[in-house]
């Protein structure tokens, strides 16, 4: 990689051991990908909690803190594994909880904003077209690239922290124009009137093209020969829909970017989105394709004792919809329902009365966490006798398998019905 005089000096230790180590690490990653240089970043978002880091990660973080590592651009944190208010009730481990507090303290000492949210793009920071950032989790990255036209690779915890400490990241992947062009076309021909439908689209496309550099271009127009058809949505997609689509594409397909013609900033037309690429595939997603997704889940013992709205955390608008769904009703005895959101959204939901409506039904609302990374989740599953996990998030349905849940995707309204009736159809 070509280094600037400043970077040479950082490598020589002019800004201390922590900066030197971080840049060395970034250099190794950059060289793997053939990056030619570093680009400055304005914002970093990192995943770091005791469940993902383990004791080894915490020991490393403490050692790095002792080297006076300090974020030099705003560094926010992703959803973590404890909501301290609910930890005891969930039977989470007190020793791990103490480590989590220690870890948070360590990050704050490094100048991090411990915001604990995976929807930073909805609640904290919206980078502009062409702005370079260093973000993780994957849902934040695909949203930044696709919807804002900002530029980020998947930056895992150590990589995002290194970027915050050095203020730069190696220029490869989605920082470069050549990886941002569409590689396949997806024609949407289904109504897509529930968030789960958008996730299901992400599942269909992601499973078929598991590749970081696969960039789907969504369009609602007819085939090449035929005239443009009316938009099947008859409206423009909203942020929460694009969030569920992106999260699912990233999860099932390891994808970091998509375009939607007439919707996202680098896709004024199909041709512009493809940028001269010949699409490797053309997929049509109609109502029947969506129904096949929903019909494809094994219902196992048909129990409906766990319903989850998480992964990503709920926006205020999703909280409003849940308040309308659960308001005045009760969760079926024997069924547990979890919602996860950010501290800010929960606070706003309380002010607006949504939280009371949701909690009044017997739903547990957790803040600052994702259900999937809750500390002790595998043990919690056994202790509660959970077999099936029902969710409207295609992402969480995909990722929680290692904890041996049998997962089932259902539309939001169906999830509410299942939660209140205890019956899985």
């Amino acid at each position: 990689m070509r280094l600037t005089p400043e970077e040479e000096s950082m490598l020589a230790g002019s800004r201390g051991e922590a900066v030197r180590d971080a840049l060395r690490y970034q250099l190794a990653v950059g060289e793997f990908f053939g990056a030619e240089r570093f680009v400055p970043v304005t914002n970093a978002h990192m995943m770091g909690d005791i469940e993902v880091m383990g004791d080894g990660g915490l020991a490393w973080l403490k050692a790095t803190g002792a080297k006076r590592a300090r974020a030099c651009v705003p560094l926010t944190t992703n959803a973590r594994c404890f909501d301290f208010e609910h930890a005891a009730g969930l039977g989470q481990d007190a020793g791990e909880l103490a480590k989590e507090r220690e870890l948070i303290g360590c990050l704050r000492d490094m100048n991090a904003l411990t915001t604990d949210t995976c929807i930073n793009y909805q609640t904290l920071y919206q980078p502009h077209l062409g702005e370079h950032v260093a973000w993780g989790d994957t849902g934040t990255v695909i949203y930044a690239n696709s919807v804002f036209g900002a530029r980020s690779n998947f930056e895992s915890g150590p990589a995002a922290l290194a970027a915050a400490v050095t203020g730069r990241t190696p220029e490869y992947g989605f920082h470069l124009d050549r990886h941002r062009k569409g590689t396949l076309v997806v024609r949407l021909a289904a109504p897509l009137d529930d968030l789960a439908d958008w996730g299901a689209v992400g599942k269909i496309v992601g499973e078929r093209h598991q590749h970081y550099y696969a960039v789907p271009v969504f369009t609602c127009r007819g085939g090449k020969e035929g005239p443009p058809r009316a938009h099947p949505l008859a409206r423009t997609p909203i942020a929460d829909e694009l969030k569920h689509l992106g999260a699912a594409l990233a999860s099932y397909g390891s994808m970091g970017m998509f375009h939607m013609v007439g919707v996202t900033p680098e896709a004024p037309t199909l041709e512009a989105a493809l940028g001269g690429n010949r699409p490797v595939d053309e997929i049509v997603i109609d109502a029947a394709a969506l129904e096949r997704v929903y019909a494809g889940y094994d219902l196992k013992d048909r129990t409906a004792t766990l319903v989850v709205f998480s992964g990503p955390q709920q926006s205020l608008f999703e909280m409003k919809a849940l308040a309308e769904g659960f308001g005045g009703r009760k969760v079926h005895p024997g069924t547990q329902v979890f919602v996860t959101t950010s501290n800010g959204v929960k606070s706003a939901a309380r002010n607006l009365g949504y939280l009371q409506a949701i909690e009044g039904a017997g739903v547990t609302v957790l803040e600052g966490v994702c259900f999937y990374i809750l500390q002790n989740l595998a043990q919690m599953r056994v202790a509660n006798g959970w077999t099936n996990m029902i969710s409207n998030s295609a992402k969480i349905v995909n990722i929680i398998g290692a904890h041996k849940f049998n997962t089932i995707l259902r539309r939001t309204r169906d999830c509410v019905e299942i939660a209140c009736s205890g019956k899985l159809a």
Partner: protein, 141 residues
Amino acid sequence: MTSPLATIKVARAFGPVVEGEAVVSTEGFSPRYDLDRWTGLISKPGHRLEGTNIRDKVLFFPTAKGGIAAGWAFFDLKHKGIAPKAFVFGVTNPVMVQGAVFAGIAITEGWDPPPGEVVRTGDWVRVDPARRVIEVLRRAG
């Protein structure tokens, strides 16, 4: 030096030279989605390698699956003493590379020929990142 029985060229590589028993998967991998990170067993129900232990193995996967959390996971596996020797991916993503570099575990991307043609689970292989090759040294059993 034993002359290899077969050689796979890789496009990109990082890490030390390592040798180990090959595990060749036709399904992609995520240390978060598919793995029990306390035992090192692939635990996702229905994964084609379900029940396989990854410790000290050279793992061949066609693809990487999502998951930013994987960036810490490899370091954690190493800390727990259950890390594999190397990851050999057909196509990977930055998280796997960032995680492997962070943990000091060998990782490669891109292969020619595909491992399915020249290496089987149980074969003994050497990964040489600097030379960008993977060599099959001994056949299983």
